[in-house]
Symmetry: D2
Subunit: 435 residues, 4 copies
């Protein structure tokens, strides 16, 4: 996408230029340099040519506008870049000009540049997610005995602990991080194949050159993936899943931060408003939710783009290249959000207790029904409890009081927070294992 400030403001500052004119040009030139150097190593071009090409790659700072303008005619950003590079090389070393981009093709440059631009973003992601999972796990441990309402279908369910809730968040972040890292190790692979992806122009040296390019660029080495994008799509999917997992955390948190709930806040402060002086908006949640709204459609685009024709697609591949920066931008927003949330999360045990209490024991209904089911069948127990719940609601009484009166029995153990806490500990510990 051309520059758009609204989208950029939702993203992560350090990702803003990750796929910009400069970054893309530098990545393409890094590819051309590594290619020349690996070819010199393999004896395919003179070492002097590789040096000249390397120097030109450093010296060249092509104008994005000009590249884009010419690319609009040819359909490939690589063509004007290579032309400019060849001219730059020729200025100093006419012989070397013939060795620029040797045996390669546009897609090699552009696909390798894509993964080179992605790589630092994924390194940031790994670091941020590791730290966030750790901080969230610490929050979880801190609130291992803080009871709060569990909520299903957006209605009060049974009690959980804040620790369990946050531990699930932490665990999902940690799982997504580890799958993302595995997917990245497969997908961040050099693309080198020449005209039809067969490396035929490099003859017997093809494999050695490709390995040399990969090593120089810090990428994995492997067969050309120009038309079989499955490994890259698996990476995109893991990014989208991660964005969704963070979005779920933000959804929970935004619900908990509502004025009527106030059980958690994303941080002490909050974003202001242009109209309302009192506003404290959950800006990190906003960022995460915006990213979660964007990611599925972007992933779907990448998936559709995979229906590529023959040895290089007409339109699908190009749409893929154009969509990755948006997915990375959304990921950046989600990372920013989880970083801010993990660092700033505020838990409010008093409000949790108050909201639990305000249900007048209704959220213990399942425990009460289980208690009853020891002496009658489950359906009958459930019906009985349902009736007490209705009565408690109508009379404004606590469910425990209504049930105890009806049963003529002390129900302290059923309605005991300590008993609930004990029951919840295994699940909580399981979620925190390894974090």
């Amino acid at each position: 996408m051309a520059d758009n400030p609204v989208a950029r403001a939702l993203g992560r500052a350090s990702f803003a230029g990750a796929f910009g004119d400069t970054a893309y040009a530098r990545a393409m030139l890094a590819f051309e340099r590594a290619l020349a150097e690996a070819q010199a190593d393999a004896g395919l071009i003179p070492a002097a040519s590789a040096r000249s090409i390397a120097a030109a790659c450093e010296a060249l700072h092509p104008s994005g506008e000009q590249l884009v303008g010419e690319a609009r005619r040819s359909g490939s950003l690589a063509i004007p870049l290579i032309k400019a590079l060849t001219e730059e090389v020729r200025k100093h070393d006419a012989a070397a000009a013939g060795h620029v981009h040797y045996g390669s093709t546009s897609q090699d440059v552009l696909d390798t540049a894509l993964v080179l631009c992605l790589k630092p973003c994924l390194e940031v992601a790994d670091r941020v997610l590791g730290a966030a999972a750790g901080l969230l796990a610490a929050h979880a441990r801190r609130h291992a005995r803080t009871l709060m309402l569990g909520r299903t279908l957006m209605q009060p369910a049974s009690p959980i602990t804040a620790g369990l809730k946050i531990a699930r968040w932490a665990n999902s972040v940690s799982r997504c991080r580890s799958r993302l890292s595995a997917a990245a190790s497969r997908a961040l692979c050099v693309q080198l194949g020449g005209a039809v992806g067969a490396l035929d122009s490099l003859g017997a040296q093809g494999a050695a050159v490709r390995a040399g390019v990969a090593r120089r660029l810090g990428l994995a080495d492997g067969p050309a993936w120009h038309t079989q994008r499955d490994a890259l799509l698996a990476l995109a999917a893991e990014l989208a899943i991660l964005i969704g997992a963070i979005g779920k955390i933000a959804r929970d948190l935004a619900l908990l931060q509502q004025a009527e709930v106030q059980e958690m806040q994303e941080s002490q402060g909050g974003g202001g408003s242009s109209a309302m002086p009192h506003k404290r908006n959950p800006v990190a949640c906003l960022q995460a939710l915006a990213a979660a709204v964007r990611a599925p459609g972007l992933l779907a685009t990448l998936m559709h783009a995979a229906n590529q024709e023959h040895e290089r697609a007409l339109g699908g591949w190009q749409a893929e290249l154009a969509t990755w920066p948006d997915l990375a931008e959304a990921a950046g927003g989600a990372l920013d959000a989880i970083e801010r949330i993990a660092a700033g999360l505020v838990v409010n045990p008093e409000r949790m207790a108050a909201n639990l209490e305000a249900t007048r024991g209704l959220v213990y209904s399942e425990r009460l029904a289980r208690h009853l089911a020891a002496r009658m069948d489950r359906a009958a127990a459930s019906a009985k409890v349902e009736q007490w719940c209705a009565q408690a609601g109508k009379e404004g009484r606590h469910l425990k009081a209504v049930a105890a009166a009806s049963l003529g029995e002390n129900l302290d153990r059923v309605f005991s927070p300590d008993a609930v806490l004990a029951d919840l500990q295994p699940a909580q510990e399981e979620q925190l294992t390894g974090l």
Copy 2:
């Protein structure tokens, strides 16, 4: 999205900055100016204040980087813009500073800026589509009697004319243009509602002010649509449908331009390759197909974003603002493509005739079956013809010869191009009506 040269190169040059830092800032400032002027007209603020605000709106050239940086904290690009504007106004007219953005809110500024940025793109679209439909209709009329293979399920079917094929393209472009224009007239509407969209801060003057803003900005006037995005989504859908319709044309054309088919070309020239000197790539088709791959996912994002909470969404609305520029970019690519195709389209009647002929009459099988069905039932006729087709294939003979021999009958009328042409004329004329 932050700047990305690959995506930009697929788009239309004149759309590149349509939602960029400068365009967005100017649109937001245009809103603030119109608001102040309309409020002065309504007597809500002094005319002098409106003049000062207008002057500051002209004078202010905020740094995109700075706006974005501050917006990352507040979650709204409008907040730093209004702050900067207020400071600019205060420099010259302290009293007027209090009248900046009066009664309005971030979403008013940002939504109105969005439609202001969209407006010129849609005006271009209308012009380009009108011209393209006309040019395509002219091509269609020129080839009203050029027979070619109709193809279904990517296999030869019955003959059509090049004119009919192109007329369908033209008609779909024309229909999409007219629906797009209707959708735009509803969606390009001022957004003015203040904090909760109710215009309550302007009291009885609300409607007059809103109408004044709309008139100044060349937008429709109507109730706040900040949380009910249906009209805007209907516009997005029409853009996506248009992009898809152009994508279908490009799909057909790319298939017809294959070396083995060569029945049409998008233009005389073609894009080159960084590896293969002989390449003539269908770059306009590439552009259109890339846009068609992107549009559905972007539309899906906009649709999801519509699930907005209460009086202003947390994340969904912001994702919508961030996605529109991508959809406009895709539309720009599609417009560029159809403009180039309509202007440059090359039709090759010789190859059409040759490819028809190469089927050895098989594509007349349905006509032959209809001819036979006058004397036997349809299933029997079909079976008979199927058998002749197989025989013709095996013996390398023309279906007409095989059938004529078997029937002992002259089949010139069945296999007559003139008869086919006559049968095709009504459909062709129907498609061209009104174009």
Copy 3:
């Protein structure tokens, strides 16, 4: 999709079989009958044949399993249907068998069957939406003076009325209904074109036959749209937009029905739980939100499918036919939901007042800032109010008290519910106009 009970349970009972084996077969047979009758009218086939075909269409009850089994081999459900019909006709009238499906093709049958299956669903939609908009408008009028919190970014904003909130819902339902109806009138069009969509096999009678088929089936008449799906996509888009608009209502309502908010309920009752006897789940909201999650992806699929090759697509068209029933199912769920919500909506003014009051006047901050802005500039006023808000929060006092003490001024007019109500009336009335 093959039968799935979970999906079906989210849908509308009356839509469950709308695209099922029986409905599809009946729609295809209705087409074949209408075709034969229209062709008899035009003198293309004998009236006796048309009668025999009509009789066979009534008599035939093909097995879905068998049709599907054969369709798996041929790629078209129409082929085995037509074969079965031809055999049925031949039993009673051998001559008529040759006139079955005359001049038509698989896509004619299947596309026309699609719109025939859609038609009653859209009629239900129109009726349900009309009634729902009316009922919602009545709720809105009833609560025209019920103040409640406006909420932006999921945080308290300024006050609105329940009437305004519901009026916006009603208005969006009404707008969506009217755009849907316009789209349906264009898209519910007969498809008749024969092998390549040109109606060439019917010669000069083509237009008359097509009009006759359309009239018999209660569909619009128009040129073949077999490969130009824009009108159908525009209808799909309007359905998705409608589903989204209802989803937004359900989102608001689910938030308002939270135990801590309790300002509205979708109905007096509610769905139960298999585990928790006290649960009252907002099942209509569930249904609407599930539909809203599904619709964008389904629409995106339809949009992608539009990239069809030549005179009949390979895969794209078929995917479209397979996706429409899911979109209709989602629409059915949304209609069910809005019908239940509009009928059963419960508004709780006491809780609205209590939640407003619980903000201790903070939601009047924008009014207070406007009041101040008469004597100082907007930024200064905003800063002042922000400081009072912080103070009120810290000291647990009402904003009005804090501000009044600081200003030494009676602020009753600023914090007056009646003044707020007066300011909100115009927006509310505007939304209700015409409902």
Copy 4:
């Protein structure tokens, strides 16, 4: 989705009922039985109760219509199922009725039933993909020395071998199979958590019971994943990627099967037409392409659904359950297609040679340019060859002749098929390694 014959006909016969009323009910009952048995093992319920429940689970054949009807009111298919099961148990063992579904909740039943329904589909997938990759690899080896046109941007590029092309298909199928299997091993996990997913109602026995249920059902054991769906989404993504990979094969094949190309066919036969007796439609490609059109949107829906609220989602989770059957259906279609293609693929070396030859040497242009680049720089060489290509085109001569004449040099080595084949071998072997 309710029953739809068009969609079903695009799917795999054996998948048709995989998520149907019967399969879902059986899967839910299998869960309830395993739960009771595992609880008896853990001493939580009497062994006799577990036996009675197991017997009732076998005996019960609930009506899908009835379950769905009741589920429409409660929002959960599990509620009526458990009610019916409890009644069935009570008929024979009143005491055991109280032990039905003990400590569990709707989502446990439904989520576990979902993965139980998925499991056999994935087992089929693994088997089909293994066989298809093997058969494709055999085709590839058979055509290791069959030269054909490589095509980029749908235009002739440089030569490849049919073996290389098919090897890439085989390799992608094999890679997708292996990632799918890894994702399945993580996602096919029992869901057991009770009301809020914490297994609190089973106290210290929770882990043992869950493990027992998992073992009985042949699923993995692990923490509740009711609200953290990342592992399931990763499986969905791998299915979508697989469908896309098969779609890419079908796209290539459909292009190669065009009458003007005829280089491959999906099989000897082909699907017929209701109108055109000569048609041989690529039905397996149709099926694969339809699946590839559907999968991205379905995946996007699942991704969106992941934005779930708190301890059980309102709408999102239910939409997910409703969408999986569609994704499985699409996968079934893709599997059917690749099975048919791998078994039936026809390669036509004569047409490959003829189409190569028809370019009059143009596809050797890159080799020629490389040859020239030994004596001049790359840009100059490319320009020279471009000029010869134009000349060859204009004069209808072979590029070799034109270049040889201009250079006064024998170019046999440049235009040598054997040299090309030698250059292509390494890439081909690399793709086939391990297949």
